[in-house]
């Protein structure tokens, strides 16, 4: 998670639903009404980089109220979590968010969701083994497709692989390249 990390920057651009707790005259543009003040209680969805700081900033209020209160984004909503509990492999995470895990870890830092961590861990472990399986398979069979840089593979796994989030994609690519390099090395050894 470096300052320059592109994926982490893109994760920070994911939007989460927020509710303003304080009325602010100058911020009407956040709710698409630049000419009007932003009333307390307005719901807007803000990118993570804005919402995070607004939610934890100290307003100087005696009750310790912050500028905004936030909810979990729909990507981490109840139905998604239930679906993940049922079968992690059946959920295309990418449709929820391209940076699903990044978003989730961020949200877990901000809120106290006990269950979420456990569900996510199980999700990742289950999916990771599936990813590894696909990565090996692709390297073994499709000789011609090796030069296709991305996930250009047909067959049964396609549906699943399309649903990988950014992190999982990287995992897949690395597993795939690892298997390929290993194979290449073995072949070279035999030849020389």
């Amino acid at each position: 998670m470096s300052y320059y990390d592109i994926d982490s920057i893109l994760t920070d651009a994911e939007k989460i639903p927020c509710t303003f707790q304080v009325g602010i005259p100058d911020l009407g543009y956040l709710d698409n009404t630049p000419s009007q003040p932003l009333k307390a209680g307005t719901k807007v969805s803000l990118p993570l980089w804005l919402a995070e700081m607004l939610a934890i900033a100290n307003t100087g209020d005696i009750e310790g109220k912050s500028f905004v209160a936030f909810d979990l984004p729909p990507a981490l909503g109840n139905d998604v979590i239930q679906a993940l509990k049922a079968d992690p492999r059946a959920v295309p995470l990418r449709d929820q968010s391209a940076h699903f895990y990044g978003l989730a870890t961020h949200m877990m830092e901000l809120s106290e969701e006990q269950e979420l961590g456990a569900v996510l861990r199980k999700t990742f472990v289950t999916r990771a083994s599936e990813i590894a399986l696909h990565a090996r398979k692709v390297g073994g069979v499709g000789h011609k497709k090796e030069d296709a840089s991305n996930l250009g593979i047909g067959g049964a796994g396609e549906e699943f692989l399309r649903g990988l989030d950014e992190w999982e994609r990287r995992l897949f690519r690395q597993a795939h390249e690892g298997a390929k390099a290993g194979k290449q090395w073995m072949e070279n050894i035999k030849r020389s």
Binding site: I6, I9, V22, Y29, L30, W49, L54, A57, D61
Partner: protein, 213 residues
């Protein structure tokens, strides 16, 4: 409705795409300018917001202003991060290309059509910003200085030991005359030569010649 930080986000998406490419896509001059302009505007807003307070602003007394200031500040910070990340991704790529010995400044010139435009591209067709061209040139100089000081080892050379001293090459584009131990060779397009590998390694890396198996 566009929001602060949206343009920065576009830049980062460009950077993301750049990471997976072999070459360097054109520099997003317009976007970069847009983002910097946004930062300047935000800074002006902050200055005008703070003006009536004469330097004695108390955040807890005026929460609404405090929040506006915070949002402005965060937007600027976000834009800064986007800008830095975008440029860093590109310079990383440039360094990589410099190590690989490819001539980026040259590459820019031979987009479809003008294959012989080997001279430095002045404006227009180049995919680098002027600063990036400078960076690339100076980085190349640094690499060359590293090589020259101690040994005549070519740091950017291939780590694979050559199988043969001589190789067959085909000329892909005119490269003019080169001097070798065995006299001068005139490299004209589509001709074939049997030459010493060391003499032409550079030209192969730069894409003038193609090695024949």
């Amino acid at each position: 409705m566009p929001m602060y930080g949206d343009q920065g986000n576009k830049l980062v998406q460009h950077a993301k795409r750049t990471q997976n490419l072999a070459h360097l896509p054109p520099y997003q001059t317009e976007l970069v300018r847009g983002v910097t302009r946004e930062v300047r505007d935000l800074d002006k807003d902050v200055a005008s917001l703070l003006e009536p307070f004469q330097g004695s602003f108390d955040p807890s007394a005026d929460q609404a202003t405090a929040c506006t200031l915070l949002v402005n500040h965060l937007s600027m910070r976000r834009n800064k991060r986007c800008l830095l990340a975008y440029h860093r991704t590109r310079t990383d790529k440039l360094e990589e290309l410099a190590w690989a010995g490819s001539d980026v400044l040259d590459h820019a010139g031979q987009q479809p059509g003008g294959a012989n435009n080997a001279a430095l591209v002045d404006g227009g067709a180049s995919s680098l910003s002027p600063q990036e061209e400078d960076y690339f040139r100076q980085f190349g100089d640094l690499l060359a200085a590293c090589k020259g000081q101690w040994t005549d080892i070519d740091l950017t050379g291939s780590l694979e030991p050559p199988r043969d001293l001589f190789i067959d090459v085909r000329v892909l584009k005119d490269a003019g005359e080169i001097q070798t131990e065995y006299g001068a060779i005139n490299l004209t397009k589509n001709s074939q030569f049997y030459v010493r590998q060391g003499d032409v390694e550079r030209l192969v890396a730069q894409g003038y010649l193609q090695k024949l198996a």
